[in-house]
Symmetry: C2
Subunit: 250 residues, 2 copies
Amino acid sequence: MSGWLVIAGLGPGDEDLVTPDVRHALGQATDVVGYIPYVARVPERAGLQRHPSDNRVEIDRSRHALEMAAAGRRVVVVSSGDPGVFAMAAAVFEAVEAGPAGWRNLDIRVAPGITAMLAAAARAGAPLGHDFCAINLSDNLKPWALIEKRLRLAAEADFAMAFYNPRSKSRPEGFVRTLEILNDACQDKRLVIFARAVSTPEEDIRVVPLPDARAEMADMRTMVIVGSSTTRLIDRDGPPIVYTPRSVGA
Amino acid sequence: MSGWLVIAGLGPGDEDLVTPDVRHALGQATDVVGYIPYVARVPERAGLQRHPSDNRVEIDRSRHALEMAAAGRRVVVVSSGDPGVFAMAAAVFEAVEAGPAGWRNLDIRVAPGITAMLAAAARAGAPLGHDFCAINLSDNLKPWALIEKRLRLAAEADFAMAFYNPRSKSRPEGFVRTLEILNDACQDKRLVIFARAVSTPEEDIRVVPLPDARAEMADMRTMVIVGSSTTRLIDRDGPPIVYTPRSVGA
């Protein structure tokens, strides 16, 4: 039997947000590869070997998965969210490009998932209902100057913005600086959504005007969405609705 | 029994990309509301009334759904893709804000789905694996000058770009102009992906360098993704892999 590799998105946490497409791939797999907490989401069963690995070893993990697929195994690499958005798909293709020529013709497929920004947006209302951008605020893999440039241009373009990896213990200063840049670049009071652990029992959604946003409101499990200048808030009993209208006046 | 409203995403077309969360909502609904081809994707069953409506009547459709939920019915508004991305969620919240005060406290929830750009990206590889933006190229609801401004700033920010609604019969010139602007604004040969009818039997994926991109390569069912300056192409037997590496050099 010939091997294959599926790079699959498990969504934000709720099992009801995992697509049947991903479930089928997991059901046929001989091996599951991924970061420890994501592999832990895949139930054990006979015939399935689980290969959990630590964070920040994405290329090693990708090579391991490719080697197994090349050896005829049916391998699923699991990501949270969608594998194509700041997750494992790019890492696997980096490994393919740098690896043996035979890897290019392996049966490799990406199975999409519900990415964090769309799960967070759904919980808040529809803040990404108009043009928007998605920026990874981690400067592990790119210079901080590029992040700053993109933030300023995104503000000038009046995009709503979704921030992945806003804050971690190893770089607490980046998100402080992000808020300073946005307060400087946005002439208006943008709305900021802090969406933590969306679709899990620890879910917490908080909406504040940009001048009141504080870096401490985000942690590693938080998705941050900043509205555009047209984003609106509907007050009601319970959490407000935040949405960006489809129209922009001339 | 008290009514509710779920704004649900049906994904790009393949039924295996519809989440169990959305299936559950449809299974409990008394009424399904939406654009004709999306309502047609929901199987008929006893106890379920289907309310298909024409395109471009999003606010009327939203009011109708809200009225039914307020009257105690269990209503699902269906969108293709994700309802929060250029789809029905923003329209429903516009109707809520403009409607009777009581609508604000209805039980309304957005059930996310696989949006077209992520389904298209998955088929091509991982072109959105680094920072990116999503722009609706339709100028039905915003001035063309704003689209042009966003295109130029997005190119300057070196975002990968995903274009929704690149082209329709009523405005054939917009996408021609988009390609002119990108050829002018991008110093480098960006890769362009034309992803038509992704996840359906008519799926067609085409990858060309920006100077070779032609407006005729897109139609109403096409998602267009333009890579950043770092996006790479891996040649192999069959369609190439297009991906954007996670790293950008200093």
